[in-house]
């Protein structure tokens, strides 16, 4: 049964020439799990919003969207609100009331359901999803993942038949994101609910999804089952979408001499089965792992025996933590939610003051006199870069900084900076109107104009699509090569494994291990990359990244001939 049918849909925002959606047709069957992906600005969010009448953007629309073979304008408003649920990206903004229970019944109240009905539905939902303990909490005190599950429950209370989700996991850490996807998979399999999901993080989604849609410039570039889409993208070597492919599939596609579309592995298990079937043996030689460069002893950041707690009655967030960052390092700190990563960063920046212990930067302690001086040599990129900008456009921000430093030939420098970071096209925009990735690049461009020696970065990959992530990595690498020390807090293990020079794992308020990424991640069960999980104890050499596997593979091929 066809749930949603879109025919020749074109959509243009007011006052723009180009079409956000261009002659797009697609049909979605009942019970389908559809994943829509594509680079920022490809129109995927616009498409999703057009399916939900109440929040559809205004603009010029041609073509037809029908729900169960009837145009959505002809349906009763109430019926559509109940049938089509929508979940937004930011967990915080969609919560309306500061009470979990009230939030969950909000939709039911609006639609005039009886009390008995509300009680029944809430009881059922909280029980099924194990949310009882949180029923009497305040949403503002919940974690990001708990908030997003609350949003899901408050939509589910209306018993929707179709669930639309706009990047629901982009603000969550990978483990919690996974939990949410498991819930969605369950809804799809147990209730046959139709799910349409827009998402960047596709590593696990290809395995769950029935259909994958890849969009570009308002059009559908690829459409089909996960394997079909992966196969097509790879066969055409479509550079726009190769970064979106899951690592395990890329591994297979790059290594298999003759690949069969139906056998493309979508998860670690399938990839391992395929690897085991290969008639080859691991070279056996354990590669010498480089130790962290011990000769360089020019510590730039030193934390010694630091204790920190937010309040007298609250538990210690940092416990006897010591950390040294050498000059010129790209230092990654990884750890789960609530392990104290961000707190550590803020203590290092003197935004939070530790109860006990020493914090030294450039060999100096923070105090009223040194603080200003030290800040001049450091920059801090927060999770949401919006809080960095003080001017109405990116160019103005850059000019203001150039003025502050009394730089000559200001215009040239600003133009050069804009060019270098690839943000010329958005220079006159308000930071608010930029995508997350663009905003981040702009903030970095501004910061680098200040010539910092140390750059502190907090969760830079949050909410970025794979392409923006690559661009960010290139920028950070470049900055690092120029001699800027980078301290980065992240829960993106793949990112940390690929790009950092030293990695530390935080657990329970302490740095449990500190080593090169190779040393730290190899052999881990969960805290490692998908490629590593695939290659552990397999016929091929253990590796962390796809590139590493491929170089090893080439080498072994060459030697066997």
């Amino acid at each position: 049964m066809e749930v949603i049918n879109i025919k020749d849909l074109s959509f243009r925002y007011p006052d723009t020439e180009s079409y956000a959606l261009n002659n797009l047709s697609i049909s979605i069957d009942e019970g389908d799990f559809v994943v829509i992906c594509g680079p920022t600005g490809c129109g995927k969010s616009t498409l999703l919003r057009l399916l939900k009448k109440e929040i559809a953007p205004h603009g010029h629309l041609t073509g037809e969207i029908s729900y169960f073979n009837k145009p959505i304008d002809k349906w009763d408003e109430r019926k559509l609100i109940e049938d089509i649920g929508f979940i937004f990206q930011d967990p915080d903004n969609q919560i309306v009331l500061d009470n979990v229970l009230q939030e969950m019944v909000f939709g039911l109240e609006n639609l005039g359901h009886s009390n008995v009905d509300m009680r029944k539905r809430i009881a059922e939902l909280t029980h099924t999803f194990g949310y009882e303990q949180l029923l009497h909490e305040k949403p503002s005190e919940l974690s990001g993942g708990q908030k997003q599950i609350l949003n899901l429950l408050s939509v589910l209370a209306l018993k929707p038949r179709v669930l639309l989700l706009d990047e629901p996991t982009s603000q969550l850490d990978p483990i919690i994101a996974k939990d949410l996807l498991v819930i969605l998979d369950r809804l799809n399999k147990e209730l046959g609910m139709t799910i349409v999901l827009v998402e960047h993080r596709l590593e696990e989604l290809f395995d769950i999804a029935d259909k994958v849609v890849m969009m570009d410039k308002g059009e559908i570039a690829y459409y089909g089952t996960s394997r079909e889409v992966i196969n097509q993208v790879f066969q055409r070597q479509d550079r726009r979408y190769i970064p979106f492919l899951p690592a395990v599939s890329s591994l297979y596609l790059n290594m298999a001499s003759k690949f069969i579309a139906n056998e493309i592995p979508l998860n670690v298990k399938e990839a391992r089965t395929w690897l085991a079937s290969l008639s080859m043996e691991s070279s056996g030689e354990t590669k010498k792992i480089k130790n962290r460069a011990e000769q360089a002893t020019n510590p730039i950041i030193e934390l010694k025996d630091v204790f920190f707690q937010f309040d007298k009655d609250k538990p210690m967030v940092l416990k006897n933590l010591s950390l040294t960052v050498q000059q010129g390092e790209f230092y990654g700190i990884i750890g789960g939610n609530g392990s104290g990563k961000t707190t550590l960063l803020k203590v290092g920046l003197n935004i939070l003051k530790p109860q006990l212990g020493k914090v030294k930067v450039f060999g100096q302690k923070y105090n009223k006199k040194t603080e200003r001086q030290l800040y001049r040599k450091m920059e801090y990129l927060p999770q949401n870069p919006l809080s960095y900008f003080t001017r109405d456009s990116i160019e103005e921000e850059l000019i203001a900084i150039a003025k502050k430093h009394k730089l000559n030939n200001m215009k040239e420098i600003v133009a050069k900076q804009l060019h270098e970071f690839g943000i010329e096209h958005i220079k006159s925009r308000h930071p608010n109107d930029c995508s997350g990735g663009e905003m981040q690049k702009a903030a970095l461009a501004c910061m680098l104009l200040e010539n910092p020696e140390v750059l502190w970065v907090d969760e830079p990959t949050k909410g970025l699509d794979p392409i923006s992530k690559r661009q960010l990595a290139t920028i950070l690498k470049k900055i690092n090569q120029k001699g800027v020390t980078i301290v980065m807090v992240t829960h993106d293990i793949e990112f940390a494994a690929k790009y950092t020079t030293t990695c530390a794992m935080m657990f329970d308020g302490q740095i449990t291990t500190e080593a090169s990424p190779e040393q730290l991640f190899k052999g881990n069960y969960f805290y490692t990359t998908t490629i590593n999980r695939t290659t552990q104890n397999s016929p091929i050499d253990e590796a962390l990244t796809l590139e590493e596997v491929l170089t090893l593979w080439e080498k072994s091929k060459a030697s066997s001939y």
């Binding site: 200003r372 800040y375 003080t390």
Partner: protein
């Protein structure tokens, strides 16, 4: 989970505070007020061990002392003259009046402390929404925004501090400038995010016809019993008060302190009414003890 008086229906709790408040204003007999005072302290102790009340102790004592001392010197009405102060008569009546006045104010404040502990947040809004549903909803929305705004402002302050725009160092003009700048960022940021909140409300059918209200509280048999008992006791007290029992004449001449038989009836009714939270809590305690 909530138990004791906290578990009662908000209506019952609200009725309690209304009744007690009215009676405190109604009876001015020092013994009535004094008994009320002691009982209300116990009520507060049953809520949270007197933690919230402790913060008030100093203020309450200071205020009472000032009233008791000042009143006789400012007011010289009354017949029983104690002594003269700078040619003005200081009377027993004015002194006693000061005491009743102080007790009255102290009682009301203690009652409010208890009110705050019991009928907080949602319970209060629940009662409020019966009278003004739209305003109540608006208040609930704003309550949600407080932690959000604070969180954002903190983030902005942190980043701007590292950027070298400090609120603690520099000239007053500079500090004001950075402060305003932060507020400006907060405003544009929050407006952006509020649009999403509005979308989320629309997506769940806000503004689509008549709203029903989820009622998280149910009037149980226990609640009805307590409510009826309280109302009965209140009206007995009210009727007695109308006949001038439970009150003492102060001006122009201090009346007798002793109780008439009907005064005793009122007194007992009042004690029971005041002690309802204590009974509720005590019953719970005894039940737990016995079940072991």
């Amino acid at each position: 989970m909530e138990n004791g008086f906290r578990a009662y229906h908000p209506y019952v709790q609200f009725a309690y505070y209304i009744f007690i408040g009215l009676l405190t204003m109604y009876f001015n007999h020092p013994i009535f007020l004094m008994t009320g005072f002691i009982l209300l302290i116990f009520v507060n102790i049953t809520h949270d061990g007197g933690k919230a009340l402790k913060k008030w102790v100093l203020i309450l004592i200071l205020m009472s002392v000032i009233i008791i001392i000042l009143n006789p010197f400012l007011v010289s009405r009354g017949t029983n003259i104690l002594f003269y102060f700078r040619g003005k008569q200081v009377t027993l009546e004015a002194f006693v009046y000061g005491i009743t006045m102080a007790l009255f104010i102290v009682n009301i404040i203690i009652l409010f402390v208890s009110f705050n502990l019991i009928l907080n947040g949602n319970r209060f809004l629940y009662i409020f929404s019966k009278v003004l549903p739209r305003t109540a909803f608006l208040i609930m929305l704003s309550i949600r925004f407080v932690p959000l705004l604070k969180n954002r402002l903190d983030q902005i302050s942190e980043v701007q501090q590292v950027r070298g725009m400090s609120m603690t160092v520099g000239s007053l003009k500079n500090r004001l400038q950075t402060g305003l700048l932060r507020l400006q960022i907060l405003l544009s940021w929050s407006l952006e995010e509020a649009v999403q909140t509005a979308d989320s409300m629309k997506a769940r059918g806000y503004g689509l016809g008549k709203k029903t209200a989820y009622i998280p509280y149910k009037m149980l048999k226990r609640d009805w019993i307590v409510l009826v008992t309280m109302t009965l006791l209140f009206f007995i007290c009210l009727a007695g008060g109308m006949l001038d029992y439970g009150k003492m004449a102060i001006y122009p001449e201090l009346g007798p302190l002793f109780f008439f038989p009907i005064d005793w009836v009122l007194f007992i009714c009042m004690i029971i009414l005041f002690s309802i939270p204590i009974f509720a809590e005590g019953r719970e305690k005894i039940r737990w003890k016995l079940s072991i």
